[in-house]
């Protein structure tokens, strides 16, 4: 069965702490370092999810509204 991308709340009581941790991790970084941190996180989390359909669905939704729609990846 194909897993669905979860878009309902799934962070329990940890939402504000996760947000604060993101801010803190980026606090002293340059723009380039900041971008590298984000990409490392994405790769780590993608591997953790381990389901390309879910990852591509997230990518498609995240891509929405950025640049021209034609260049968006398809499933």
């Amino acid at each position: 069965m194909l897993k669905q991308l979860v878009t309902d709340w799934n962070l329990g009581n940890a939402g504000d702490d996760v947000y604060a941790a993101l801010i803190e991790a980026h606090a002293d970084l340059t723009e380039d370092q900041s971008r590298r941190l984000d990409l490392r996180m994405i790769l780590l989390l993608a591997n953790h999810i381990g389901d390309d359909a879910v990852i591509l669905e997230a990518l498609r939704r995240a891509r929405k509204g950025l640049g021209s729609p034609a260049s968006a990846p398809t499933q």
């Binding site: 878009t7 309902d8 504000d16 947000y19 604060a20 993101l22 801010i23 606090a27 970084l29």
Partner: protein, 537 residues
Amino acid sequence: MARYEYKPFPYRKPPELSGECGQRWPVLIVGAGPIGLSAAIDLALHGVRSVLFDDNNVVSRGSRAICWSKRTLEIFDRLGVGERMVKKGVTWKVGRLYHRDREVYTFDLLPEAGHKNPAFINLQQYYVEQYLVERCLEFPDLIDLRFMNKVTGVEQLADGVRADVETPDGPYRIEGEYLIACDGAKSTVRAMLGIEFKSHIFPEQFLITDVEMKADFPSERRFWFEPTFHNGQSALLHKQPDDIYRIDLQLTPNADPKEETRPEHVIPRIKAAIGNRPFEIDWVSLYTFQCGRIDRFVHGRVIFAGDSAHVVSPFGARGGNGGVQDVDNLVWKLAAVLAGTAPDALLESYDIERVHGADENIRNSSHSTNFMTPKNAFERVLRDEVLGLAETYPFARRLVNSGRLSVPASLASFALQSPDDPAMNGAMVPGSACSDAPVRDVSGQPGWLLDHLGGDFVVMSFGRPAPARQDVRPLVISSEPVAGVETLCDENGLVAQRYGGRDGAAYLIRPDQHVAARFAEPTGDKITGALARARAC
């Protein structure tokens, strides 16, 4: 609608300056704000005399603390002023969030029925103080209110505390067993004792105004991120009694306080926020954010409560509400120590339990403040993306943070509470603030459970009385009256539902309406042990 009339409270020459022999008081209280006044009333309800000093003689100017939470209203009920406040206040439970001119999220703070008090009321601090002062006056033998009495010195004694006080008739000295410092964020008692206040100050400023106008805005908390009417900043709108609306507008960190509070700068901003309608400005102020606390709330015979002990940014309604919870936690303990029924160690538990509460409030309001006032490009983009995703995705709405509104702190796992009985279920684990529910007394009168809890230790049992003890008040939840014991009928089954109330089970409930212990099969020994533990004996 007539504006609030600030009537000065009478000043009387203190007995110490009229040639009378000064007496030693059980408790001295510094500061007649909501916290000091609540402390005096709660002490009086425990039969403890106190003298309350304030350097002023009028309630606070402007609305200031306006959002009073359900838990605070429950405490005010116990103090005998809750119903008056709810009657006057504007009741609300829905918060509505906007990004630019679009609504992104609505939350309901009390989705469950069967509670006496609403999630929140809005009531200007001056009304709260007035009602509390009037309640104090109902205890003429137990509360001595001394306005225009400024405490200028505090000295710790081996077995008490001495204060120097200045009045229009000159200075005098007075002694007490304990002193509670409720003298606010700029506490002079704290300064006189040289206690360090560690805080994080946020650079943003907020312009805060009370505006009188006729409008049909709903009784909801409305918050805007980057509203079109207030370029790039945040805005908050609350409805208050007497056709007064409270508007908070975020300003840039470098805004000049003097300039920004001048009418020619305030009026155009208000007009932009409320549209083209007649209004009058009742009060204007400017504030900056600060979050922090002192290390310990108990220093020898001096105890700190409210803003003198901890301050938070205002958007979670955690300042005034946190302070009232300090009083709720402290007073029964202080009364027991003064009466000799508990050791000094019980006061340590005030420090531990309320430092925990303060840290929770500080953490939550720091998070809210960070979300509201991004410090750099990364934080701004992160916030914009959360707000953008929130329009489509439910998960992102929960990340939007315009203030996490005050909820009671859990005291689970602290020393006064007994370990939970694994045979019990339901959310009311030891350390929880007791949930309310509708009940009916033996005469058939409808009422509320919380009106029957608190003040003393209560053993609430289901179906039949728990083993008796002299120094706890028994209460039985049963459909049939039980001889010789206060019995309440569980009107809609909500008491049993919320407390997992199986037949024969019992709860030991603290005087501040928190669960100390619960037992599926209570025995005299179990209750005695839990009670000793809850009194730090």
